[in-house]
Symmetry: C2
Subunit: 475 residues, 2 copies
């Protein structure tokens, strides 16, 4: 086991098991080895590597499946009294180790709390429990004529709870925003079992937004048990366009100008030359260039206007490549196979997403590519920009390589360190939407500065026994 | 003095004065009676009434004008050590008593910290200290070709710091959002003198947004000392339109449908029949109807589309009234004279803004009008809706009346109580953008429920001696 820890005594295990069964019923509590193993890791590449090496990342003592907010509250009251760690779990698609039960304890699988209690057509909201699978949520909305507007690559293998926990972003974020922009109100259980529930109103001016502390807390401050989010009418029109630019800066400038006009295509993805040749080699016109993918969607007339603005701006320095490249992207956009494909071949492969203001964007791109490439054994480092704002952009880097004279883990860590260091130097944020988990935890205090000390104080007062997802985010 | 309190001993006053002078220099510290009196109240109508009755709301012990973040930090370190209250002060335009120094102490006037350090054209941001006057900020941006998009009625008599402290909204909010939507990053001094500074990035996924706890905290959690906010290109086009609807629900439905199409006019104001006849009596076509005012602004083509969509939707149940009513609104929109005009005439007059989801909007409007009207002595109660979201709306109520057999204050409180109670019953939020201050403090825990207990815990851990703006928001 990679994360060693003190085992519960047999007596204590028996006692807690019995209490958990009282709360949840026998069917919703497990201490079976096979269940514990199923929750030993998430989609963090380093944990997959451990699996291939025959190592187990970590094992919980109990796996539970609550069915109500009250049960979640009772679990936390018990865990707090017994000082047993609690790790909330959705579908384990996080890529930074955030759901690995590094100190054992109770894994709280939220999948039995996935009910949609209301789709409100007048308010354009959905009220839903966090254990719902992303695609199931989207399908339910689609069938009523709506969309979440939150379509991450992990749509099929992640839950709403995971999105909220790490302030996720979907592929359509340039129009619809990140998941935290969509939250209207939420219900959550805090570490000592207190249930908070914010009011469902469009906007208010009633003190600081306490409920929003749960967003991005990655399970360290409590468990979200219900959420009311914005939804949108299912788009009556969708338009696909692509343009190729000879240089990355030309593509970035084009996008910046489109947004500056108050026009927000839903999907905006600009690939550097390396990724363009990897993904769009069939598009001859784009050879050696940077591909820009656009999907406009929504009201017909709005889409028409967005197309017109994009065409004008993008053809100034770019050439139209038609629908083809977008269709290709649409067909492959939920593909998450790279990690499981490359890792067994002893190729180290991972992605790193960061954000930066426009005026530092190119410097950040150049310096992060250079920093990662400079690590011995790195074969490729590339990026696309895939979430855009009038103020800046998210770069999504991919690196791959083969460790030379170092262990795979040391190689992996060396590339990450180089990337994080150059990101911070260039004024970027160390994460745009994947979060912190284990992998980025040592960088969080550098990102937050004195605010990290405040976070620790708030954590301490809300979770005095540090039961909630301990060992994550440097907490 | 209305808010009685224990006076500082002469010795203590002398000691603290000397220390404040060491920090700030003699010119930036005052204990003159005239200065103390100037900071004895804000724009809360009840405090104006006290003034007319010859009463002073409250007096600070010291008035100080810091010129740097370090000075603010040193003031708070001193105040915390001496356990002396600190009340941050902008221009005192708050209407709920939030800036009244009810427990004396140090009023920290932020007006000497009003420097714009950067207008970043590439990032579309402004970095500015919070003491800046609203109109000065807007003018500085306009002169460079930009706008804040935040144009409150109080633009001429409020500061950025006040906006941030109470999560304010401007008249153009339907397009640009509330002030809290515009914040990219901020620097603040916490109650024990710690300086936090968040990173200037468009979006991130790096733990909960600790810095945003300062937004809406109304000075109870610290003092914001700098902020980077979104700005927008100064609109190349502006269009003014108005429509009259025979019934309020028709107007509300029209607006809901416009927003549902993904089209956001900047100014959207719908007046009930009472307010329509009060403000737009010159528009014969609107007699007995509800007036809708629209201002579209931004990119020319976007404005054209917004006009087209609005015209189609609004003429379904309404009639066009042209530019005239909008021009009238534009000419009078910064008028804040009502309170000072009516109060000396012994007419009690105030405004109450609340927010509500669409499906409760009409019920809330009806029940709040009925509740206020039912208080003996109320002559009029009316409303307009002036900030719109795809999810709901802000109603801005106005009431006026003459106390019968009760004191003015009791009458005033009775109307507020009736309004707040019916607002909560109808599912509304007790404040959309004015905040809590003193007047709403007893209602905040009803609004927030268990979250209020969490707020108290966070307050306690960050401000153990409760020095920051004590006696506000129920803290």
């Amino acid at each position: 086991m990679v994360y060693k820890r003190e085992e519960l005594s047999d007596e204590k295990e028996k006692e807690v098991l019995s209490k958990l069964q009282d709360i949840l019923g026998k069917k919703n509590v497990s201490i079976k080895e096979i269940d514990k193993l199923s929750y030993s890791k998430d989609y963090w590449p380093i944990a997959l590597r451990w699996t291939l090496e025959g190592k187990v990342a970590a094992l919980p003592d109990f796996v539970v499946w609550p069915e109500s907010t009250e049960q979640v509250s009772q679990i936390l009251v018990l865990a707090n009294a017994e000082e047993i760690p609690v790790v909330p779990f959705g579908e384990g698609s996080g890529v930074l180790g955030g759901a690995v039960p590094v100190k054992g304890g109770i894994v709280v699988d939220m999948k039995k709390m996935g009910t949609i209690s209301e789709i409100n057509k007048e308010n354009l909201t959905v009220t839903v429990q966090p254990g719902i699978n992303g695609m199931n949520l989207e399908r339910a909305l689609n069938s009523k004529g709506y969309t979440m507007g939150h379509i991450p690559q992990s749509l099929y293998c992640s839950t709403l709870g995971g999105w909220l926990a790490c302030r996720a972003a979907g592929q359509f974020s340039t129009k619809y925003g990140k998941i935290d922009d969509m939250v209207i109100s939420l219900e959550a259980v805090l570490p000592q079992g207190e249930i908070i529930k914010s009011k469902t109103v469009p906007k208010s001016s009633t003190g600081p937004r306490i409920d929003k502390l749960l967003l991005g807390a990655e399970g360290t401050l409590g468990i979200i048990t219900e959420c009311t989010l914005k939804i949108w009418p299912y788009p009556e029109e969708r338009a696909l366009h692509s343009y190729a630019f000879s240089k990355l800066p030309h593509g970035l400038e084009a996008i910046r100008h489109i947004l500056k006009k108050g026009v927000y295509p839903a999907v905006v993805r600009l690939y550097d030359t390396v990724e363009t040749s990897r993904h769009f080699y069939e598009t001859k016109k784009a050879k050696g260039k940077c591909m820009l993918i656009l999907v406009m969607e929504g009201d017909k007339e709005v889409v028409r206007l967005e197309e017109k603005v994009a065409e004008t701006v993008c053809t100034e320095n770019g050439i139209s490549c038609g629908e083809g490249p977008v269709t290709h992207w649409v067909a492959t956009r939920f593909n998450v196979k790279e990690t499981s494909e490359f890792t067994p071949k002893d190729v180290i492969f991972d992605t790193i997403e960061v954000s930066v203001m426009w005026d530092n964007a190119l410097e950040l791109y150049d310096s992060m590519i250079a920093a990662m490439s400079s690590v011995k054994g790195v074969i490729m480092a590339s990026a696309h920009a895939s979430h855009f704002y009038p103020q800046g952009v998210c770069f999504y880097f991919t690196f791959g390589g083969i460790p030379i004279e170092v262990t795979p883990n040391d190689f992996y860590t060396a590339v990450w360190d180089a990337a994080m260091k150059s990101c911070i130097t260039a004024g970027g944020s160390i994460s745009h939407h994947h979060g912190i988990g284990i992998m980025r935890s040592e960088w969080l205090h550098k990102e937050l500065g004195e605010s990290f000390e405040v976070l620790k104080k708030i954590k301490k007062v809300l979770d005095p026994n540090n039961i909630m997802n301990p060992g994550k985010m440097g907490l």
